[in-house]
């Protein structure tokens, strides 16, 4: 059912796209337009749809919702747009509006949303996945949602060799003080699908600080992206309250980091929470940001060729580009791949909703990884890691996919 602030959301979206000149710069950069040459796929088309909805020329239907859902929210259009039109944010608003108009979020998103709101369910899912992995049944799961993990132990066995410790590494510019309270924010994706990598993150952080580990809830990005805005707001409040004592909040998930850093902008008209959420957002750092800032030295140098895939929500969402590369260059032989910052096609649940399109996008990524000759592709987002694992498998063992905390 349509809610009272839905019209306001739609008008906000219209405002966001109002400066679109329709020049078309967004067409050739959109990963989806690259595999499906249809105007409504492009940001220019989506801006047009937003305007038409807001001006009443287009009725809110399930088909229009499908068009709004067909977006990776990867922000490539935003970065390339001469006017920096935030089509991704407009789409989040439009999705909320359309879902409410067309009878609420689909049963699928509601079910996933419910599960991800619930600490117990996340833990249960994580436990199930670990069991599945041990039994080998994970291979039966579709969409790579129960990925095999290539662990740090595997990695070191293969690449550690006799390389010496303590070689040149990144230098810190602003050392955080000894009394800084650093807390870890563990995303659901890391918890459920990549627990080994999450454990590595904790281990790395513990070398730097007296780490606070909190039993946080979901960052809420899956809810926000799929018309469950209220859930996003209440999850955020829960996390804000939970992390009030921390000075710095470090996460190893690009999507969580992006959501938490931007949370403040969703509370600007909430007098009770505005300041608290703003203070919270300012404390959030990506793992690699934190490590570079504190002058982290990779635990050991490895004799491996590494390449890096930029998660959308890290490179464009947070502007974190150099830090992972610095850390990887200090760890092994780093080779930049072509189009490293092009979306992998994972995009939350997009790869499950549109498996064929997603496959075409990851195939391009796979080719770019293979061209570098790297034996490991590294990234900082569990969503990307699912996709990259599929690519690794499809490559027939030419490379493996790993989270950055398992490598450095």
């Amino acid at each position: 059912m349509k809610k009272k602030n839905d019209d306001q959301l739609l008008q906000e979206a219209r405002e966001k796209v109002s400066q679109c000149d329709r020049c078309g710069t967004c067409l050739t950069v959109c990963p989806l337009f690259g595999v499906q040459d249809v105007e409504k796929v492009s940001a220019r088309g989506k801006n047009t749809i937003t305007r038409a909805l807001a001006e009443g020329g287009l009725k809110p239907t399930a088909d229009v919702l499908a068009a709004a859902n067909f977006c990776l929210l990867c922000q490539t259009c935003v970065t390339n747009c001469p006017n920096k039109i935030k089509t991704d944010e407009a789409m989040i608003n439009v999705r909320q509006y359309l879902m409410d108009c067309t009878g609420g979020a689909s049963a699928k998103y509601r079910a996933v949303g419910w599960m991800m709101k619930n600490r117990g369910m996340i833990k249960f899912a994580a436990g199930m996945l670990s069991l599945l992995r041990k039994s080998g049944l994970n291979r039966l799961f579709p969409h790579g949602m129960a990925p095999e993990e290539y662990t740090r132990t595997h990695f070191l066995t293969a690449f550690a060799g006799p390389a010496a410790l303590g070689q040149q590494t990144v230098t810190a510019d602003v050392p955080l003080t000894a009394t800084t309270k650093v807390a870890y924010f563990q995303g659901c994706g890391m918890k459920m699908m990549f627990p080994e990598a999450a454990a590595e993150t904790v281990e790395i952080l513990k070398t730097k600080t007296q780490l606070l580990v909190k039993d946080n809830v979901c960052c809420g990005i899956p809810h926000l992206a799929h018309g469950l805005r209220e859930d996003f707001l209440s999850l955020t409040k829960e996390n804000v309250a939970l992390y009030e004592e921390a000075d710095i909040i470090v996460t190893d998930c690009a999507s969580c980091g992006g959501a938490l850093k931007h949370a403040a902008s969703y509370f600007t008209d909430d007098p009770e929470w505005k300041d608290r959420v703003a203070a919270f957002s300012l404390k959030v750092m990506d793992l690699t940001e934190y490590l570079v800032k504190t002058g982290y030295m990779p635990r050991r140098k490895v004799d491996a060729t590494l390449t890096y895939h930029d998660p959308c929500h890290l490179v464009r969402g947070q502007g974190v580009k150099n830090q992972p590369r610095e850390l990887l260059s200090a760890t092994g032989k780093f080779i930049e791949m072509k189009e490293a910052d092009t979306c992998c096609g994972g995009a939350g649940s997009f790869h499950m909703d549109y498996p064929d399109i997603s496959k075409k996008i990851i195939e391009k990524k796979q080719a770019n990884i293979e061209k570098t000759g790297a034996s490991i592709v590294v990234t900082g987002c569990p969503g990307c890691l699912i996709q990259l694992n599929k690519a690794a498998k499809a490559s027939g063992g030419k490379f493996k996919a790993m989270h950055i905390s398992q490598v450095i």
Partner: protein, 459 residues
């Protein structure tokens, strides 16, 4: 549009390439100008045979057909004013041949300009000179039917100069090949040129035979800074008449410099009344001579500073500034009229003076820049289409601009085409007799007026 027609279209091109839902159709109702007109159906054929069948069907039932490439046009040429069928040509995107020996290429209309230009560069010997600002997005087909230009036009000419021949589907579905693949062919009148710049009003271009140029060995980029716009304008014709034809010769006035600097922070001289961005190319020896000559002329004509870009970063920075004018304009005001009034090179100083007078007279914001070297100026009027009082002033100013250009022996459009925006003024340029002759040509080739109605001679 009846269900039966839609079903038949689906049969011709395949179900997934026919779009008749509103949310799809509105996305094909515009180009980079500000007017919208929603087609009844969007059809995306894969090849000439399918286009033939679509046009036969449209002809049989009297349905208007407007061809569209990447819809990046600045005059409204691809906006389907007649509704009916929007014929999207982006699936015809193959480069069929790059023939180094004969210095020509065969391409389909949906190929993206830069993709083609880069493919030609990979031969190592040749290049494709037309370089419209939208080359990363625009299609070659669109470039041809709007007759796109670009900065390199001074030395290398515009798209027209690189078209040897075309395959065209006429309005009733018959196919004709005009011109041919041989450079130097001249058999009867130049039919090819009839279709270049025709905006799909005379036929649908389905294949192009293009001429390629020799790739120069070296180039140099120079920035000349002026305290007076007039001095910059005088430099333009002086350089050329005294013996050097630069590859590019771009002018930016003070307002343009400021807008770009605000947007880019590239360290442009914001106090200058104008700058010229000049590039010369050729053999290494020749480039050195041209560079010295250009620097001397700029100084003689009153340049307060002349800089030669040494590093690739410097060159990129200067070109980025030039390419950023359009996006920077978007920051200034919501609606822009990107005009491309063109005058003989010798009249550039006068045209710039007149353009400033016109802006002052009507009290509107106008940026002056453009490809001064071939007289192709871009007076960009910055406004808001929802401000009706100002839009009236803008319309008067546009008319004054056109009139001034024509009085100086110039033209309405150097490279953006006519579209719906300049169609009402076409008669001013062609005269009654010329316009009537044009109508007759249109009637001979498209008697039912089905191709891109509302443009050119049927506006």
């Amino acid at each position: 549009m009846t269900k039966e027609i839609v079903a038949r279209l689906k049969k011709i091109v395949g179900k997934e390439y026919v779009m008749d839902k509103l949310e799809d159709r509105i996305c094909y109702s515009f180009d980079a100008t500000f007017r919208d007109s929603c087609p009844d159906v969007v059809v995306k054929p894969a090849n000439t045979e399918e286009i033939v069948k679509v046009l036969q069907l449209a002809h049989q039932h009297g349905i208007p057909v407007t061809a569209m490439g990447a819809a990046t046009g600045n005059s409204g040429g691809a906006v389907p004013l007649g509704k009916g069928i929007c014929l999207g040509l982006t699936r015809l995107n193959r480069i069929l041949k790059i023939d180094v020996e004969n210095r020509m290429a065969i391409v389909e209309p949906g190929v993206i300009t830069d993709d083609f230009a880069n493919a030609v560069l990979r031969t190592g010997l040749l290049f494709y000179p037309p370089d419209p600002a939208s080359s990363k997005i625009s299609t070659i087909g669109g470039n041809i039917v709007e007759c796109a230009g670009g900065p390199r036009g001074v030395k290398y000419g515009i798209t027209r100069d690189y078209v040897l021949g075309l395959e065209v589907v006429l309005s009733d579905g018959r196919v004709v090949e005009v011109g041919n693949q041989v450079d130097g062919d001249m058999c009867g009148p130049d039919w090819t040129m009839l279709f270049v710049g025709s905006e799909g009003t005379l036929g649908i271009v389905t294949k192009m035979f293009l001429r390629l140029a020799e790739r120069p060995e070296a180039k140099q980029t120079i920035l000349a800074v002026y305290d007076r716009l007039d001095d910059a304008a005088n430099t333009v014709s002086t350089i050329i008449k005294s013996g050097t034809i630069p590859t590019t010769l771009e002018i930016m006035d003070n307002q343009t410099i400021r807008v770009v600097e605000d947007y880019l922070k590239a360290g442009l001289p914001v106090e200058a009344d104008a700058v010229l961005l000049i590039e010369v190319d050729g053999s290494k020896v020749e480039v050195e001579r041209q560079k010295e000559h250009v620097i001397n002329v700029c100084r003689k004509c009153g340049a307060s500073d002349v800089q030669v870009a040494v590093t690739n970063e410097d060159i990129d920075r200067l070109w980025l500034a030039r390419r950023s004018i359009s996006p920077a304009c978007g920051k200034v005001s919501p609606t822009k009229f990107a005009e491309d009034t063109t005058v003989p090179r010798s009249k550039v100083p006068e045209m710039l003076r007149k353009a400033r007078e016109i802006a002052d007279k009507h009290g509107i914001k106008m940026l002056l820049f453009g490809h001064a070297g071939d007289g192709n100026l871009h007076p960009n009027i910055m406004t808001d289409r929802h401000n009706h009082a100002e839009m009236e002033k803008v319309e008067l100013a546009v008319k004054d601009l056109f009139r001034a250009a024509l009085e100086l022996g110039g033209t309405l459009s150097g490279e953006h085409g006519i579209g719906y925006m300049k169609a009402p003024f076409l008669k001013w340029e062609l005269g009654e007799v010329g316009f009537e002759a044009g109508q007759k040509v249109k009637a001979a080739l498209d008697p039912a007026h089905l191709l891109n109605p509302g443009k050119m001679f049927t506006a």
